[in-house]
């Protein structure tokens, strides 16, 4: 009996078989696409705009004297286009370094020596906000020899030369090298770097720039 109605059946079955195979291929393509694109991709690039050196008298205080050095008010890093006002930073309730409330200024840690006095002055700034680059976005591009200027409240400039740029996992932060005593006037610039952990909302590493006062 069924044999007499055999004609439509193969066409329907063929369509169903094609649909089944096509569906499997589509799903496979989707899985392949998911696997191949499931890695971080840079959102976009931001060019560096170099700036001229700031105008003003560069003054280096005589070493080995706990001389009165004026408080820092601004930071200039011409090679990576940084020109920022400095705010004061203290400690958070948990004892960590405070960070600036906005990404357009940098901050000087008031527990560290003043820039130009003996010891490492510590300045921190953001690499980015939630939306775009921050004041220290290009910090990791600094190289040994690059100039860093700190303007002080009395109008004088302290000039530092970069000696080292390094990146550390935050849970292996080199506290002694960054905050510990030095026999000369030095500078530490800190920002974030490395992998961003969206779950914690923070980067896993810190970039630290070491600089020493040029006389």
């Amino acid at each position: 009996m069924a044999g007499k109605h055999a004609a439509p059946a193969p066409a329907g079955r063929r369509a169903a078989a094609i649909a089944c195979a096509a569906g499997v291929m589509l799903a496979g393509a989707g899985a392949a696409g998911l696997a191949l694109t499931h890695h971080p991709v840079a959102s976009r690039s931001y060019p560096v705009t170099a700036l001229p050196a700031p105008a003003g008298p560069v003054v280096a205080v005589q070493q080995s004297r706990a001389a009165a050095v004026a408080v820092p008010v601004a930071l200039d890093i011409p090679s990576i286009g940084v020109q920022a006002n400095l705010i004061d930073l203290g400690l958070t309730a948990a004892g960590a370094l405070q960070v600036p409330p906005t990404t357009s200024v940098a901050g000087w840690f008031t527990g560290s020596p003043r820039p130009g006095a003996i010891g490492p002055a510590v300045i921190a700034g953001h690499i980015d906000s939630r939306d775009g680059p921050g004041i220290f976005f290009h910090l990791s591009r600094l190289e040994p020899g690059d100039r860093v200027y700190v303007r002080r409240a009395d109008g004088t400039l302290a000039l530092f030369r970069v000696t080292k740029v390094a990146s550390y996992l935050k849970d292996r932060f080199p506290t002694a090298a960054v905050y510990g005593p030095t026999p000369d006037a030095e500078l530490r610039l800190i920002t974030c770097g490395g992998t961003f952990d969206p779950a914690q909302g923070s980067y896993l590493s810190n970039v630290v720039v070491y600089a020493v006062q040029a006389s």
Binding site: G111, A117, S129, F137
Partner: protein
């Protein structure tokens, strides 16, 4: 060592050699009476106990051959002979009055010893008696912040693209495949 302002090509008054190591600091001091001045290489310390200051004394007074230096009730250097150097003492950070006592003279000086700072007090003969020269050997942060700095919010971080289009493709493909499979099962098999 040359006279102050002498040309770098002039004959040195005194010479010494030292081995310098990376990460270390040294003081080269000319110590002794004018006739027997000699150079001493002193090892400077660059780390303080947490929250404390370090102080040492160089006894350079010719008039008082032996001095004792105290900081409140604490002795920083006891019976220190001329041209010798005490070892570093850890002290609580404060602005303190340091007393220097010799056989016939005494003086006091107010010095600020901050946490994380390393000082050398040089005892000298001034016009009016003993004087104290406070030299800052090294300084760091008074209190070191814990851990790293939270200096980024991720706006420029590389990100993983949304998986949604691919998940939709997998879903659609699966639906079509299941539909086809059901059709295959429902439709009669062709006769040979």
């Amino acid at each position: 060592m040359r006279a102050a302002g002498a040309a770098a090509t002039s004959k040195p008054v005194l010479s010494t050699s030292l081995v310098v190591e990376s990460g270390s600091a040294y003081t080269v001091a000319g110590l002794g009476p004018e006739s027997g001045l000699r150079l001493q290489v002193l090892d400077d310390r660059l780390t303080t106990p947490a929250g404390e200051a370090l102080v040492r004394v160089i006894q350079a007074s010719l008039r008082e051959h032996v001095v004792t230096v105290t900081n409140g009730g604490d002795t920083v250097a006891s019976n220190l002979a001329f041209a010798s150097v005490s070892s570093y003492q850890a002290v609580r950070p404060a602005t303190v009055t340091v007393r220097v006592t010799g056989a016939t003279e005494a003086t006091s000086a107010t010095v600020t010893l901050g946490a994380g700072t390393v000082h050398t007090l040089v005892i000298l003969d001034g016009a009016g008696g003993l004087t104290v020269d406070n030299i800052l050997d090294a300084a760091g942060s008074a209190v070191a912040p814990a851990g790293g700095a939270a200096t980024g919010l991720g706006g420029t971080a590389p990100r993983v693209p949304s998986p949604l289009p691919w998940l939709l493709l997998i879903g659609a493909g699966s639906l079509v495949a299941v539909g086809g499979g059901l059709g295959l099962r429902r439709l009669p098999r062709a006769r040979a």
